[in-house]
Symmetry: C2
């Protein structure tokens, strides 16, 4: 489902124009990005928690040259789904 | 930032009542959960992609009894942040 499909689906459910949904979703994304950039944890009921996570530095090997090099530590965005999301997915066939 | 704080922040930005933000966010969460339960991939511009991912079955060991047991395969929700989220987080000190 593309961004556009999602906006269409939300517009249907909310009985809103797609432009309004699109603008609202944009504001949501801006706030989420701002808060993540401030290292905030963001909790959304029945969906999950967004947070930043530090990935430690590690040694990697260039497969062409066999040279070892250091991959520096970095901060990544992480999503931990809530219990009810996990419950929903339990019913899917693996 | 709790769910309530996030609603407060969005209400400020959008100049909406908190109840309206809360209802809209609930609809968003319902749609996201429904689509994930249908194994859909969901793309949100400038934020990332939500998708389901199959985790393979694996053997684990009960540390108390040393007994080996099979953890069955399962479907989990996964979030892949977009390039611009990664860029934002690059500026954070590790």
């Amino acid at each position: 489902m593309t961004h556009k499909d999602l906006i269409g689906e939300l517009a249907n459910r909310l009985d809103w124009k797609q432009t309004k949904v699109s603008e609202t979703l944009d504001t949501f994304v801006i706030v989420m990005n701002e808060k993540l950039s401030e290292n905030c944890q963001l909790s959304i009921h029945n969906f999950g928690v967004f947070e930043t996570k530090k990935k430690a530095e590690r040694i990697s090997v260039n497969p062409q040259t066999q040279e070892r090099y250091l991959v520096p530590p970095k901060i990544v965005a992480n999503f931990r789904p809530s219990v009810n999301v996990k419950e929903h997915l339990k019913n899917l066939n693996t």
